[in-house]
Symmetry: C2
Subunit: 943 residues, 2 copies
């Protein structure tokens, strides 16, 4: 039998050793150490817990002896005696593991109360009701926790007691009712344990300690650890805290409350919280009485309020983080019972982190690590105004960020229909969604489901579309027959307004005001620090001058991707583009293209001007031409209808004449003339212009000729550029002329040309020759030197394999990880997200959706190969990323670690990217492979 | 001025030094050395040619001196004097570079003849006509080649001379006509050169030598070298051969002929050739007189015939390869003028190679290197019977192997139409083809185009479809208005029979008998030697028992790919498969699947049995389910037609009643009742069964739900297996039960299960668990141990990146290079081959079609990474390839070099693969990177 130290008084324990003392115990020790008014007590270590199981679930002699000594010390500290009638010592027994496991185990209060000691306490407090109430609480908790009696069997007696005296609240029970209740509780306990009730406090104490230890191996706790992957190196056994009881319900000079050291909703630097006079902690939670705002305490107990302000200061100075703490005032004396890091919303996190750095509490790096990219994401989406936030109706799992209000719709077909006809926004509410519901997603502002998790179909698809989504809202039920939705007793109907917050998972009835994202001063400050810290560049994916200007305000250092096809899609240009595609001679095609040139030039000019002094990477046309033509299905139907039923038409054409000629008495045998005329009109209209049919047929022929089996892998990007060189020539000319004109005006421009879908060095060289020729020509015509960088997208796997060759002609690479991910997985994004990815995530075949989270082991590996081979040819090669992953925090960290020059992301991800880049820099470990990559691979990593 | 040796007599020259002496010169030296009766002569080296250009296109003094010495030696050897009246020495001056450049330069004959020397020659030969004819030939050649006079200007005089004496053949010109002609030739030459004609033989000789040198830098030669990529390290300058003239036209004891040492069409071991008595070499070619078969010479000149047999033997013993040689008999004396390796057809190549090994002339390895995979390819396609082969109509570029006969069709629409209606095969004949002609390809047996090369659209698409194709047949013209085809004066019409040979490029009128491919004894012998030599395994891609049996006869060592979807497509099963897909409950789906099980089991049983003792790799279901459903376009139209025009229908329904009721005098105003009834019937039939419409609508809905934007990257392979596990369960069970039943019967079976489209190790582990469970279950039920290998396709790029992990669970990898190529290039094969690949090949952006020729630099690189990482985990990992590249010779060589275990190819590629694998083994260079791979990449190669 080892004779180790298992018991530490709060004065002795090392507050930083959570593993040994558990989170709660360490906190109590720490608070004691920094002089906060913690009730006296001691911790039994997690080691004692492990020893308990090694010894066959028995408390060892040394442990019992040390507990005894601990209790003796407690008696000395409090001037009370455990189990003694006069000034009895009451304690609470609380579990506490190294990792918080909420709801795993409960606390036993008022241990030390017996029929005998309660008499002494009554004498001491002169408050018989308080004492008997304390005793019945003890009996309930002790019975349930230490003796394993089903909670219902005991709680039921409390309900019965209230019924008998015809009251509804616990506090309305008088002393005699409480005495009777205690008597029944004891009888029930005895009935369950089949033995007389122990009234020895020491026995009860040891039984309670053993019960807490045992709860560590209880099914609930084991499941929880499995679910959250809590391994023995994180927490191994629970500690037990024995704390002297203090009471906030000992009269009007007593109180209990909870407080934050700063406002958790706004981050304001003031004490924030609420309290109840003459109450116990659980009364605050129970919501029977409405707690008062903490400021009121300044009037009710000015001295204690000042003490609390002191506690706040001490806590923050010590923990350097906003604290959420519990306190009790027992007859004027303040006790702090617990503290933990406060859960703040995004805005408050930003503000308190910036403020705390200014106050000298934390460093800039700490501030940057404290605010997570997810916080910024929340701020960059519409969110519920925290000042006007009502109580949520319910809460589900937050699956796609942002808030949205709309009318409930329960069916995707109906959603599509309503969307077409109505103006009100919609929220699609379903038990769960399936691939065939996809049109309902398009029609709605947000999605709410009753089932599913973060990787369910609804979640994956909504994130893909950037629509707010809450899933797994399991306390809702839908009655599809009546179109009613129930939550508890509340009823909603299809068409009622609902608001969902996909960042928090909260659901509200009605239209709750949302705040559009905006950058406040604190956020700007934080991001300035991020900019000072990070070494990874941050650019934006931008297609319009307006977006360019917005990107600048959000801190973009350039444009990493300017898609030129968006410019082709504008209504005034699409008809010219179609003309170009349908041209049957090169001459006609060139003519149409030349008419597009001025549009592109002026677009480029505006964007280059807006980004003065910063690089603008223009990607040459990428999508296949059929994307600019109408969809074949509707064309097929139209042509078919135009051609069909020629015999019927002729018959119908003659019918009205006949009807008019006939004796009216015969009319009843004929169809009404109006109907015939209507049908006829419908058909004739379609046929009257033979040329129209012919045109449609030709268009259909072209659409079919251009249509592709796998457009993702089709005739697009550079392949198009090589087949129809005049398109790229026009785009290059437009860009360089725009640049030249601006340079003439004295504006500093930095155009970059980027080629999409490159798979061989020959392709890139082909475009490079074209660029060089036009570049020289424009420079000669304008008599000015135009700076220009030339580079390639790396979005085709073969380009990765040929990186060494591509770098011979490219000034820069830019990873197009959207396409690269598709090609690496052989997943078509549209097909995958809608068909099998959710199942893959659910079954843990893939941890994430690789289109959201960069797949480091596959795509990332290809990127590493590319970087290594590319820089072997050209050591100073600029390498960026312009896929969606460029705005995803973990992916940005990976990009930093593998040595990318910059990330380029959508405009509203810029703040996230700036922060994530800074955090990556702070956390980088040089010489180590990025997390998650198997170390067996023999790659040299650039860091 | 260097004083080097530029001139070598045929006795001196090193016959193996083609670079210095040119091909012809080296051959003459070599033949002299081995004692063949070569006329005396000498070679002026290619170095002299280079020197000629360095010296500003002048013949250096040392060269002139050495030529003089050479001529003196020639005079001694022949007993004749150059430029002297008595016994004049005549020589030929011939060019000859290290690489054959046909048609680049001509030969000057009879140099040394002047007005003066020809008199001496007349005296000597007593044959005035012979001498004047020799003189006019000299004048023509010398004028054209040495003096650059346009050939027409001289040839025209010959035509004029024949016209004047009213004869049609050169030989009919008598002495006086020839004299007049020579006179005119000289006058014309003088008119062009503006100087009197040189009659000094020495001047003529040096001028001729300089002319030959100059021809090296002539436009024709420079273009030729560029076209065929002949670089200076291959040939640098031309040699000049000066050879004493011998004459086959000196009377009936003289003759000239060409011969092969073996029959070039059959490979038979006998002298083969033809000859003409009293003729010159060009007369054989000119076709004025019909040459006699060489066997006749045995009667006409028995002595010389024996000598020729000796020559044949000497040549073969020396060159160890079939020779194609020219000979002349001058007054009974045999001279060999030239020899080169004979061009044999495929069958003759195989036979002679096998025979020569048996005769001890060559080693097995040499035999295996001599027969190329292209030879085998020709033998494995239908080919024109060499014994019945008529003269071809014309010849184009062979673009896709095999022979086909059919009726000419000039338009793809018409081809489609004829195919639907008629039974006769078709040959599509077009100027060139375009993507929109693709339906014409499907309808035809072969394709013939007037324009384009081996990488034109027609060539690429035809190869993809495996149809014979000849392109670039430029001497054909088409008149589309009259549907006539012209070649010279010959006319063909659309509908006429035509035969094309895509292996040779030859085109024949009519139906030429073709031979179906078959394995003869020689080929089998050669392939047995290949099997002894190669270390790379060869398996077949086979889906049916019949194919399995055929594969065995062609030498398959197992089945590397058995596609199970083919079994689903059989008519008796497709309806069950559709039932399975359309099932709305898992129960119904499982029910349909269970009905498929017996089919699959019996298929597997037959195949396993046929391949007794050899591995059979079964690939679980790969294609997306919508491939088993009807195409959506036709369904859309059908549903639309069923739904439309309901008003019209009602109107029409009443119309016949009306018409019948009316006074017949009114009938003329109405549409004929028959027409109305017909239209009505058409519509009603479609609508009469509402359930039919509903069923179609449901089907359409399902088809649409399953349809995919990019099916190549869609819901298929393992993704399907995970979504609908019951399908894979059934297939695995069917295979293992089939194996168990056979084992019970005492048959040795080696089943292997292969999973398609794998991209993560988790997927593979998922199927592996399924396989293990069913495996155990089957073994228990049958009470027998069933051997089983489990592996994965590597056809998704990510699988390459995760090879290390996949190898933990896989016994084998099999590269699916069809899909892998698509994913690596981001090219959809169907879209690429039809849309932009031909242009890519034409512009040399890609050298080959990567779907035919394995792309070593991209896809090959990925394969090397995969092999390295896979074998790092499991050193004895079996790795194969089952993409089409597994049957492509250069790709097979690459597979051997990077360490693959086996290739698996289509059945009729098996012989090619066996030979290619053997050749790869013979040629392998250990420790060297495969050709074409940049050496900068840091991969360890397994060889």
């Amino acid at each position: 039998m080892r004779s180790q130290k298992y018991v530490y008084s709060f004065n002795e324990g090392d507050g930083s050793n959570h593993y040994l003392f558990g989170g709660k115990g360490a906190g109590l020790c720490e608070m004691t150490k920094i002089g906060l008014p913690v009730p006296p007590g001691f911790v039994i270590t997690t080691e004692a817990c492990r020893n308990f199981f090694e010894e066959g679930q028995t408390l060892s002699e040394p442990l019992r002896r040390q507990v005894l000594e601990g209790m003796r010390a407690l008696e000395t500290a409090t001037g009370r005696r455990f189990g003694q009638r006069h000034h009895p010592l009451l304690v609470s027994v609380r579990s506490g593991a190294a990792v918080s496991m909420p709801g795993m185990m409960d606390t036993i209060l008022n241990l030390g109360l017996t029929q005998q000691t309660l008499e002494g306490l009554v004498e001491e407090t002169q408050n018989e009701r308080f004492v008997w109430d304390a005793y019945r609480r003890f009996l309930q908790l002790y019975g349930k926790i230490a003796l394993n009696i089903p909670a219902d069997a005991l709680d039921h007696l409390l309900e019965e007691a209230k019924r008998e005296v015809n009251v509804t609240q616990d506090v309305e029970l008088d002393v005699s009712a409480l005495k009777k209740l205690c008597d029944r509780l004891i009888k029930t306990i005895e009935a369950h344990t089949q033995t007389p009730f122990h009234e020895n406090s020491w026995d009860q104490l040891f039984l309670a300690i053993a019960a807490v230890f045992n709860s560590w191996m209880g099914k609930r706790a084991v499941d929880y650890r499995k679910q959250f992957n809590i391994t023995p190196d994180m927490a191994n056994g629970t500690a037990v805290n024995i704390v002297a009881m203090v009471f906030g319900n000992m009269g009007v000079s007593s109180a209990t409350g909870v407080a934050f050291t700063r406002d958790p909703a706004t981050g304001e630097d003031r004490l924030f919280g609420e309290y109840l006079i003459n109450a116990q902690g659980e009364d605050v939670v129970a919501g029977i009485r409405t707690p008062k705002p903490i400021d009121n305490l300044a009037d009710e107990m000015p001295e204690t309020y000042r003490e609390l302000q002191g506690v706040r200061q001490t806590l923050e100075r010590h923990y350097r983080e906003v604290q959420d703490f519990e306190f009790t005032i027992e007859r004027g004396k303040l006790y702090v019972l617990q503290t933990r890091n406060g859960k703040l919303n995004a805005r408050a996190t930003v503000k308190t982190s910036v403020d705390m750095h200014r106050e000298g509490l934390i460093t800039k790096k700490e501030a940057l690590l404290r605010v997570t990219p997810e916080h910024i994401t929340q701020l960059m989406h519409p969110h519920i105004d925290p000042k006007q936030k009502p109580s949520p109706l319910t809460q589900g799992i937050p699956a796609a960020p942002g808030a949205a209000s709309g009318k409930i719709v329960l069916d995707p077909d109906r959603a599509e229909d309503l969307k077409k006809r109505g103006k009100d926004p919609l929220i699609l509410l379903r038990e769960e969604t399936k691939p065939e519901d996809i049109h309902g997603f398009f029609a709605s502002e947000g999605i709410l489901t009753l089932r599913g998790g973060k990787t369910s179909h609804a979640a994956v698809v909504a994130r893909g579309m950037g629509k707010p989504c809450v899933v797994g809202c399991e306390d809702l039920t839908i009655n599809l027959d009546t179109s009613e939705i129930f939550i508890g007793s509340q009823k909603l109907r299809e068409g009622d307004w609902l608001t969902i917050d996909g960042s928090s998972g909260e659901v509200y009835t009605g239209r709750v005001p949302t705040i559009e994202p905006q950058m406040d001063e604190d956020l700007n400050t934080l991001l300035r620090w991020a900019d000072e810290t990070r070494t990874l560049g941050v650019r934006a994916n931008v297609d319009t001058p307006e977006a360019a200007r917005k990107a600048l305000t959000l801190g973009a250092e350039g444009i990493g991707l300017c898609r030129t096809e968006r410019m082709f899609n504008a209504p005034d240009r699409l008809s010219i583009v179609q003309e170009m595609i349908l041209a049957d001679t090169e001459e006609k095609r060139r003519d149409a293209i030349q008419r597009l040139l001025p549009f592109q030039r002026s677009d480029f000019k505006e964007i280059l001007k807006a980004m003065e002094g910063k690089p603008v990477t223009v990607r040459l046309l990428d999508p296949p031409l059929h994307e600019f033509l109408p969809d074949p299905e509707s064309l097929i139907l139209e042509v078919e209808n135009l051609k069909d039923f020629s015999g019927t038409l002729r018959a119908l054409e003659e019918l009205p004449g006949i009807i008019r000629m006939l004796d009216p008495s015969l009319h009843e045998y004929l169809p009404p003339i109006e109907r015939v005329l209507k049908d006829l009109g419908k058909i004739k209209k379609r046929r009257e212009d033979e040329a129209y049919l012919q045109k449609k047929e030709e268009l259909l022929k072209k659409v079919k000729a251009l249509s592709e089996v796998n457009p993702m892998l089709g005739h697009r990007g550079i392949r198009l550029g090589i087949t129809y060189p005049e398109i790229y020539e026009m785009q290059i000319q437009a860009l360089l002329e725009a640049a030249a004109e601006l340079l003439k005006e004295g504006i500093d421009v930095r155009p970059e040309i980027m080629v999409p879908q490159v798979c061989t060095a020959q392709e890139l060289k082909w475009v490079h020759r074209m660029v060089e020729k036009i570049h020289k020509d424009v420079e000669a015509r304008f008599g000015i030197s135009v700076p220009l960088h030339f580079g390639t997208m790396v979005e085709v796997v073969r380009a990765c394999m040929r990186a060494g060759r591509l770098a011979e002609v490219a000034d820069f690479f830019s990873f197009g990880t959207n396409d690269l991910t598709q090609a690496t997985f052989s997943f078509s994004r549209e097909d995958a997200e809608n068909k099998f990815l959710p199942l893959y995530n659910e079954r843990k075949i893939l941890q994430d959706n690789p289109f959201e989270v960069l797949d480091q082991k596959g795509v990332g590996r290809l990127m590493m190969i590319t970087i290594e081979w590319g820089r072997r040819t050209k050591p100073d090669l600029t390498i960026g990323i312009c896929g969606e992953h460029g705005g995803h925090p973990a992916s940005i960290e990976f990009c930093h670690n593998i040595g990318l020059t910059y990330v380029s992301c959508s405009v509203n991800r810029l703040p996230v990217a700036r922060l994530a880049a800074a955090r990556a820099k702070i956390r980088e470990v040089r010489g180590k492979l990025p997390e998650g990559l198997d170390s067996e691979y023999p790659f040299v990593i650039y860091f």
